[in-house]
Symmetry: C3
Subunit: 325 residues, 3 copies
């Protein structure tokens, strides 16, 4: 594996999930695999799970870890090609990445959507520059349009919670990605990415969101979209709760009248569905305390699996480095 | 030891001090004790000594260390149960702690008093939620009402500086906790905690503070309180300098007329007392440069002992984890 | 080596460069040299290269690393001797350093010029206090008037890029330090320090800057200064680009009419000079994109050599500690 910024970087999802489950069973099995190598974790945005799970994954493999909270600890970055840098930005992304090339064997970066320019976000204006200038592998810790380490952890979690056997009549699970309310415009990365990865899983995926909130067709592809949440939730085996702002009317929040918060009442429509969320979650806005704290929630298990999605990816990247690929 | 948030978590103070002194004599004696285990140091507030001494203590034991400056690096936390999170808080403490449970073998947290609501502070509104939701041991790095790692270091320091022998006529040392001036309302944690720990030491404890500044009776118990500083300082062997705001008139600073700053002049009243302070100290406000820089000061020794109070506690917690207790 | 804050702390530059090149050839040759020892990296200012390269250097030697972003993570420091601390500063530098003495075997500190008081900056009002109160070795990670780890890396880089042989007719290279435009007053540390180190190298050093921008005579000594950039650039083998504000009219920016930005056009005056800059650089203000991205640039090589200048210095300091010197 050279880079890891989307599911396209994985050759076989089933094999990757199976590797992740082995690592979860014995996370300290390869404590020297990363010895003498350095991973730089660059944060342009806040992070709790990603920050901690990446560090644990790296430590489990014996990698040295450098953490850079770019804007607080270093310099404001310029992203425009050819910019005359006579304003507030102090260092060009090109130079920052070239320096990281000198210092790190792997660069991992978190760079959220700016939510100001649809074009910039859709084109991954920041991640694309890391990829352009990096001479070492680049791992996305969430970018403008995708959150692949989260989605990989989601796949691991669904795999752990579904068995193809008589009890499930060997059918595929129904997975519903449901839009949830929020108080401010939120990026599409988690929803896009979850959609993309579920399309490669043996699941029946349904997306449900209010009109005006359809995701980017590039990610939806031919996934079924329902604007009636109750209809979508019917017989669901997994419900993934997530807010996102409008894509069409970019970063806006067209008003909706129904209440889309996931409640116990709504869960009754499902097949005792497992409830998922990437965290952080706004309780009693996106979903109710009751749902969050119910036995249906596998949300903390998802969070834990962030360690193993990261460790699997780091391990594959190290294999690539060691074999010179 | 399961948790460490107050002296109540220690079975025998003498034994703990003696363990700490052994560790101080040979801090690298157990470099693999924490191998494969992770401690998360969560800072909701600023920290210098606690931040550095905890890291050193953890490294000495071979623990992996994760540091989280929660508000700068992660998300604003919500502490209210049942909150509808439609405001400025992004992640509920319940979820943050549940995630830390997944990632850490030990959680250590610094959470100062908010100094807004007496009820919140007295009830440890933040620490109590860490304790409520944590499934791994919790260590306080200072909470609203206590700073136990500081107080434990203070006990170690007093032990090092006092010998029961002919020269002291085998009497107990007189320890005076004296209120000091400050420019803004300061929490009670260090003063409460010092009082609580001294009550278990073989010392004669006297507290002195202006009227209106008596500590919470829950911590004072039957400790002698004098409102005349000079009277209190008389023949003191140890003087602990610390400011705190009013408890009765919570977080207020009732005006006082005398000057309570500890000076060389006042030190002359004592039995060549050793001077203590938890740091940071406001020089020439709480105590004079002369006192701070005199040979009477054992303040930096106290700071050094923060390593060993932390390492002893981490070590005991690891013993508990390893024995399954 | 006891401290490292200027070239005065080095006994022989040639030997040091040769050590650095050996370390660069095999950076992991002494992985246990720093075992059981702790270096504290204290940042009073932003840092990318220094922050990361110092960590890598320390890790390569097996040193424990403590990082303190002083103002964000700890307390606002007071630097005035005898201050009555009844204002915004919470901890005196004297006490902070004394505590670092207790916790660290080596203290490294970044403390930029304040650019408010010429006297304070010229007298190194911050670094001097670290040196005054430290009882362990102190390493400058850039101070008000010098950036010695950068200059040492610059010497390594020039050495790597120049060979005394027939092709160079065994002559010394011509090195030009050229002033560059900027949008705000910038400190003199890099320029001073580069001047000071080049004076000890086998090079012909010329400084060029607009009138009103001459460096402190203490650093210039008898180095040739030209106010005509074109004349200075003629036949240069190395061009070091850097802005600085006026020293005479301290921290001011007297207006200049010519354009001093280094362009390809100007590079043609040189002997196909290698271009150097300490980074971060303001592209198309200090130098053009064309120059920055040309094959003449050895700027990223300079950045990489920051690891080896730091590792050489840490290694020498450890030798001093181990031999008790």
């Amino acid at each position: 594996m050279k880079n890891f910024t989307s599911i396209e970087d994985i050759s076989d999802l089933k094999t990757m999930i199976s590797k992740a489950l082995s690592i979860k069973a014995n996370p300290l099995a390869e404590p020297h695999k990363g010895k003498g190598k350095t991973i730089g974790l660059v944060f342009l945005n806040s992070s709790l799970r990603t920050r901690l799970s990446s560090q644990i994954a790296a430590q489990n493999l014996g990698l040295n870890v450098l953490i850079l909270n770019a804007s607080q600890e270093a310099w404001n970055l310029e992203f425009a090609d050819g910019a005359v840098m006579n304003g507030g930005t102090v260092e060009h992304i090109k130079d920052a990445v070239e320096v990281l090339n000198q210092y790190c064997d792997i660069i991992a970066v978190r760079c959220f959507a700016g939510m100001q320019s649809k074009e910039d976000d859709v084109n991954e204006s920041i991640l694309s520059q890391f990829l352009k200038y990096a001479k070492v592998p680049v791992i996305s810790l969430e970018s403008a349009t995708r959150h692949p380490l989260q989605s990989f952890a989601d796949c691991i979690t669904i795999t752990e919670n579904w068995t193809f056997d008589k009890s499930t009549m060997n059918r595929k699970p129904k997975v519903v990605l449901t839009w949830a309310p929020h108080i401010k415009p939120i990026a599409h990365a988690v929803a896009n990415s979850f959609t993309e990865w579920m399309q490669k899983m043996e699941v029946d995926l349904v997306i449900t969101n209010p009109e005006g909130y359809d995701l980017d067709p590039k990610f939806m592809k031919n996934t079924k979209v329902l604007h009636d949440q109750n209809e979508a939730l019917k017989d669901a085996d997994f419900v993934y709760v997530k807010n996102w702002s409008s894509f069409e009317n970019y970063a806006q929040m067209p008003e909706i009248k129904e209440n889309w918060m996931l409640t116990q009442e709504k869960l009754k429509l499902t097949n005792q569905a497992r409830v998922m969320h990437c965290l952080p979650v706004r309780r009693n806005v996106e979903l109710s305390d009751e749902v969050m704290d119910s036995e249906n929630s596998i949300i903390y298990q998802q969070a834990k699996n962030r360690i193993f999605s990261a460790q699997t990816v780091f391990s594959e990247i190290l294999d690539g480095l060691n074999s010179g690929k």
